[in-house]
């Protein structure tokens, strides 16, 4: 059976001077999606923070395949977390977590 919503996993590198908590990153991405696409867009994103490594500053986000461009744009648009300059870089996108970890080798 064809799955209508196929997952996409995004490996994200968090660049900031301070160490950020998982909640901060999650909130920043959600806020960005809300700002750019509104509540309707955010509801379609199916956004979920799968993994966050505070030390390596590495996160994995999951979203629906149709919402990938929207989530990618939102992640790239994050410039501040808690009024501190931050940039989030999407390193890789994959359909499975296993393939993503193979590609990134973090």
């Amino acid at each position: 059976m064809i799955r209508h919503v196929r997952p996409r996993y995004l490996a994200i590198q968090v660049e900031s001077e301070d160490t950020l908590e998982e909640e901060d990153v999650k909130e920043a991405v959600w806020t960005a999606v809300h700002q750019l696409f509104g509540e309707y867009g955010a509801s379609k994103a199916g956004l979920f923070l799968v993994e966050y490594d505070k030390q390596k500053k590495y996160a994995v986000l999951r979203c629906g395949h149709k919402a990938l461009p929207m989530v990618h744009a939102s992640v790239a648009s994050v410039t501040k977390i808690k009024d501190k300059p931050v940039s989030l870089h999407v390193l890789r996108v994959s359909g499975t977590l296993r393939a993503l970890s193979k590609k990134c080798r973090v």
Binding site: L36, P69, H72, A76, T79, H89
Partner: protein, 243 residues
């Protein structure tokens, strides 16, 4: 493999440490060619210094000058004085006459428009027609899009959407540059391509605007600035009597 270019990396002119950091970051993010805006009175030594930093970091350096003339007379005078000294010439079009003159002048490579004043963005069909004949490219800086928010960003996105549609319909090349003044405003080329969906630009076109369009522009200008160049398709191969 696609080589990405960023023709507008705004490194601070006299801060070597910051210059090195930004240039290294640019390389790390996947760019292989960077254009750095320089003041018109830059000495050749300062250009050589920046070129060395870029070469050491593994980047191809492109010298660029940003002109913001108030009148067409100023524009023409600046172009006459500076065209042969810089590989890329960009004009910030602050008035309609300047925008029209810049679009039809073959010495202008990049057309950019003020971000803060949407009424002063004169990139309409007439401008695009002139630009398409003179091979000038429409430049989009991504830093203002990242740093603005709320109503300002909404207005900017609306302007960009209209301008990109006009540029595509009249085959004006679009160049996407970072316009970044700090590392936190730099993004990977694919991240910029993703951001262009906000103004309805196709991602393949966006990637083209980050790679082929700027690379072709630089290559063409380097040929023009090379010693043997006479006219497009015509260059001096040897001088003096044939053997």
């Amino acid at each position: 493999m696609t080589e990405f270019a960023d023709l507008h990396l705004c490194v601070p002119f006299r801060n070597t440490e910051q210059q090195k950091r930004l240039i290294a970051k640019s390389f790390e993010l996947g760019y292989r060619l960077v254009g750095i805006p320089l003041p018109p009175n830059t000495s050749p030594e300062e250009v050589a210094h920046l070129r060395k930093i870029c070469t050491d970091a593994g980047l191809d350096f492109v010298s660029r000058v940003d002109l913001a003339p108030k009148t067409t007379r100023d524009l023409i005078a600046s172009l006459r004085r500076l065209r042969r000294r810089f590989e890329v010439v960009s004009v910030l079009c602050v008035s309609k006459p300047v925008a029209r003159q810049a679009a039809k002048d073959r010495r202008v490579d990049l057309l950019s428009f003020p971000v803060a004043r949407p009424r002063d963005r004169f990139f309409d069909r007439a401008e695009a027609e002139l630009a398409s004949e003179s091979l000038a490219s429409f430049e989009i800086d991504m830093a203002p899009l990242l740093s603005s928010e709320g109503f300002l960003r909404t207005r900017l996105l609306a302007s960009l959407r209209r301008e990109v549609t006009v540029a595509q319909s009249l085959h004006v090349p679009v160049t996407i540059s970072s316009g970044a003044t700090s590392e936190h405003l730099l993004r990977r080329p694919h991240d910029y391509a993703a951001l262009t969906m906000l103004f309805d630009m196709d991602s393949s076109l966006a990637l083209n605007a980050l790679s082929d369009v700027p690379s072709t522009l630089v290559e063409r200008n380097r040929q023009k600035l090379s010693q043997g160049f006479v006219a497009p398709g015509l260059r001096v191969v040897r001088r003096g009597k044939d053997p």
